[in-house]
């Protein structure tokens, strides 16, 4: 009997391990931790509930975030404002826990999205890619401190071209410190202390 239990657990571990590692290899995001940066749909899902808050105001607010991520607006304040609004929405809405949970998740996704776009804009402004006819891509791992300063940068996956890799490293070296990255400590630790930057020419 004991043996069967052990066998069951071992097999379970094997299967979970296989599924997770395979999903990682084929970049299937089973755990849905990664935000899909190109499609900021969740933001609209929250605010398109017409009963809750007047629709107009919120849409404008969302646009503001998406269009001017690196302008000199105080992001922290905006994020807090967003938090407050979400809380207001929650109190008005039916107080089922799953619904509220969903919202905080979405809100966090929005914030990750926002800060990612802030990072992206700052890198993009200084990255001078060499002319390449083929589709190169290089992956770097960046380590930040909460002030936005870049502590360390490593090549995770080289593009195969020294010149292309170097152009990415130079872009990171030029930024040195990301501006406008004030965020809750938990959010920073979970997402931005170490993250991967992928450089693609097209």
């Amino acid at each position: 009997m004991q043996n069967l239990f052990a066998g069951f657990f071992v097999s379970m571990f094997i299967h979970i391990g296989l599924v997770l590692s395979l999903s990682n290899i084929f970049s299937i995001d089973l755990l849905a931790f990664q935000a899909d940066y190109s499609q900021p749909i969740p933001a609209y899902l929250v605010y398109e509930k017409p009963k809750l808050v007047s629709k107009k105001e919120n849409k404008i607010f969302i646009k503001k975030i998406l269009i001017e991520p690196n302008s000199q607006i105080d992001i922290k304040e905006m994020v807090l404002k967003a938090d407050e609004e979400i809380l207001a929405l929650e109190s008005k809405a039916s107080k089922t826990t799953t619904f509220a949970q969903k919202k905080t998740n979405l809100n966090q996704q929005n914030q990750i999205l926002l800060f990612s776009s802030i990072i992206e804009e700052q890198i993009r402004a200084v990255w001078k890619k060499p002319i390449v006819s083929e589709e190169f891509s290089v992956e770097l791992i960046l380590s930040l401190v909460p002030t936005g300063e870049i502590l360390n940068v490593k090549v995770k996956r080289s593009s195969g071209s020294d010149a292309f890799d170097r152009s990415a490293l130079i872009a990171v070296a030029k930024v040195r410190k990301f501006e406008n990255l004030k965020m809750p400590a938990q959010l920073f630790d979970d997402n931005f202390r170490n993250f991967t930057l992928v450089f693609k020419p097209y």
Binding site: A6, F9, V10, F13, I14, I16, G17, L20, S21, S23, N24, D29, L30, L31, F33, Q34, Y37, I112, S116, I119, E120, I123, R124, A125, V126, W127, K128, K129, P130, I131, V132, S133, E134, S161, D162, A163, F164, R166, S167, L169, I170, A171, A173, K174, N191, F192, N194, F195, T196, L197, V198, F199, K200, P201, Y202
Partner: protein, 435 residues
């Protein structure tokens, strides 16, 4: 014992995979469009005689010619270091310089020779990325300058520079209808010289892969015949002539074969010419017209123009299997195709709305992009680094034939300066100055 061991392993496996997949990925697609900023400090001149030309001026002109680089003027520099220890990276960072080039010109023990020692430095990471010593004669300062430009270009862009390459073309002055002149020129328009003159047409020059010979078609005997001329000596030899048309020679990448067009089977077909045995063998045998062959960089296939479908289109033939595949389906006129050095892209003349353009065609994805917007663009030729194309076109203002160029991204256009009113059929040389 074993079980707990496995458990630990899989626990680790799970932890590592969740760790990896949960890490944030941010993608940067496409960067700034600004040119790369380079500062080349005037090299320290350690010879007794004064320099005839300044290397930094040669390099500046070279690097800026395709708008990929912006080179800082020496007047705008804050210091003039010639050694790595003398560099104040802060100053160069303030000047927004990406790469700094320093060096000196030194005496050599051999009379009339000089040594140039130089370094390329990455300013934002304070790193020396390339260090070299090149030797040459005092008289070839310009050539050494081009050579340094090539090396800088290669280091920074990852593809070879083409500032030492040359272009062959046929000059037919407007004033003289019966004069044909096969000429070669440096790409900056200097060193333009005549290879062969005739009062009968000269067509389709093509460089041998080692850059030492040029094959072309001449009508000097009244009918077309293919000749090979050695550049160093000027010696010419003719290929065995066949009945009818002998045209469009194209050198194989290993230099052992020429592909060309013969019409001995009554209509033009592609043939191979073995340069060792001097024998022709047919490659295509269709009743349509097959012409303008070009070898793929790996030497395994050829592309050519054929009207077998009713209109001129580009086809590819695999030499070992002899299988022929049609490559172009868009439009009713696609001709004179040339491979890019990567073998994955081709360029050709494409007619759209009655206007002839040069088009870039990705063979894998089938994506076509129009590179030129002039009126009558013809006979494109690709630079050996695959980054620029030169072609013949009409200058609409003066109604003259000129050679014009465009970078492969379509962003920068240039005109070959030396050309005098009747230039056509350009052929870009391979890399000549090896480094």
């Amino acid at each position: 014992m074993m079980q707990s061991f496995y458990k630990i392993i899989y626990l680790l496996l799970i932890l590592s995979s969740t760790y990896l997949s949960s890490q944030l990925r941010i993608e940067i697609t496409g960067g700034s469009d600004e040119p790369i900023r380079v500062a080349m400090v005037p090299f320290e001149w350690k010879l007794n005689s004064a320099p005839s030309q300044y290397l930094h001026e040669i390099v500046k002109k070279d690097l800026e010619s395709f708008a990929e680089f912006a080179v800082l003027n020496p007047e705008d520099m804050l210091s003039y270091p010639s050694l790595e220890e003398e560099i104040s990276y802060r100053d160069w960072r303030l000047l927004k310089v990406d790469y700094l080039i320093i060096g000196s010109v030194l005496k050599s023990e051999i009379e009339g020779e000089i040594n140039i020692a130089y370094s390329i430095l990455d300013v934002s990471r304070r790193k020396n990325i390339h260090k070299a010593l090149i030797k040459g004669s005092v008289k070839s300062l310009k050539r050494m300058g081009h050579n340094i430009s090539d090396r800088i270009y290669h280091k920074i862009n990852g593809i070879p520079g083409i500032f030492s390459t040359r272009i062959a073309y046929v000059d037919k002055p407007l004033s003289d209808a019966d004069s044909y002149d096969l000429r070669i020129t440096d790409i900056d328009g200097d060193g333009d010289l005549s290879l062969f003159k005739s009062n009968q047409p000269i067509l389709s020059p093509d460089w041998s892969p080692n850059g030492k010979e040029i094959a072309y078609v001449s009508f000097e005997e009244g009918t077309s015949r293919i000749y090979i001329q050695e550049l160093a000596t000027g010696n010419r030899r003719a290929l065995k002539r066949e009945r009818g048309i002998n045209s469009s020679p194209s050198w194989s990448p290993n230099g052992n074969y020429l592909s060309a067009v013969l019409s001995k089977g009554d209509n033009p077909d592609i043939y191979l010419y073995n340069l060792r045995s001097n024998a022709w063998t047919p490659l295509t045998g269709h009743y349509g017209i097959d012409t303008e062959p070009d070898w793929s960089p790996d030497g395994k296939s050829l592309i050519f123009t054929s009207n077998r479908s009713g209109s001129p289109q580009i086809y590819e033939i695999n030499i070992s299997s002899m299988r022929i595949k049609r490559k172009t389906f868009e439009g009713t006129y696609n001709a004179r195709a040339r491979y890019l050095p990567d073998g994955k892209n081709i360029i050709y003349v494409h007619r759209r709305k009655g206007v002839f353009h040069i088009a870039l065609h990705n063979l894998r994805t089938g994506k076509i992009s129009i590179l030129t917007d002039t009126f009558l663009d013809e006979s494109p030729s690709v630079a050996p680094n695959g980054n620029m194309i030169i072609y013949a076109t009409k200058d609409r203002e003066t109604d003259t034939d000129i050679l014009a160029g465009v970078t492969i991204n379509g962003k920068t256009r240039f005109i070959l300066p030396s050309v005098s009113g009747g230039a056509r059929e350009p052929a870009w040389s391979p890399i000549l100055d090896k480094y």
